[in-house]
Assembly symmetry: C2
Homo-oligomer: 152 residues x 2
């Protein structure tokens, strides 16, 4: 499910230029590039909680905050990167996820998480896919309206 | 996963008026109401393929087409309904899904579908949730921009 969701995300952004990735549909929109950075940051965050069994440090939180929270700070700093940059980050993060999942069994998946006891790893990873799919829906919508708004 | 996705969909539209459900963000947008009708129609379609092991009839296709395909015809006919109408349809369709899933086992879930041999029921129902989540992402985006655009 994670890989299927990712395939559809990459298809949704295939071929976009830097201007298209940076385009803001309106004053409160996130760019498609920022949403790609968000997807990678969410996955990294859930790696900590599920595999490393800890919450992010203050420094990690500060580093990831623009991508995790999006909004004004995301609009300011998540820009001027080619598609390859985002795809590279997504691939690097995903490689760690797949390796870590392969090293664990289904019993692990169902146990409450020590760093977040209200959920288990199964829900956590479903939620990672769910958040990505939700933003992919937004990216498709935004992409279909790029038109001539973004300079290619 | 189906139920969690549904919970987040209903939360995303909670309290919307008819005008808000019908509001079109731009000329090519689907209304939030139309997206809710789409979610119910997709689920009904996959019930046929997975539980009834058949493709929809020509008449079923004609009935569901505006909700399944959305676009201009959806904008024309999927209107003037209160939230309760959409929620009622979603609940009715979901009840059938949960009853039918409860009557089947995991082996059934993994078998290729007779009416669509390229997939199994597990993928089909993941896809139903995935499509709903993707449109929920769009509904959240659209809702946050309703502002005063829709007369309450």
């Amino acid at each position: 499910m994670l890989n299927y969701a990712r395939k559809t995300t990459l298809a949704a952004v295939d071929g976009l230029s830097v201007a298209e990735l940076d385009h803001l549909h309106d004053d409160s929109s996130n760019s498609i590039g920022a949403l790609l950075a968000h997807i990678a940051a969410v996955e990294r965050g859930y790696q900590l909680v599920t595999f490393e069994e800890r919450q992010p440090s203050a420094q990690e939180n500060a580093t990831w905050e623009p991508a995790l929270k999006l909004g004004a700070e995301g609009r300011r700093v998540l820009r001027n990167k080619p598609l390859e940059h985002y795809v590279h980050d997504l691939n690097e993060v995903r490689r760690v996820t797949l390796d870590a999942l392969a090293a664990r069994d289904d019993a692990w998946l169902e146990q409450p998480l020590r760093a977040a006891p209200a959920m288990n790893a199964h829900f956590a990873w479903f939620h990672v896919a769910e958040d990505e799919i939700s933003h992919r829906g937004q990216m498709r919508w935004l992409r279909s309206r790029l038109g001539s708004a973004a300079t290619r």
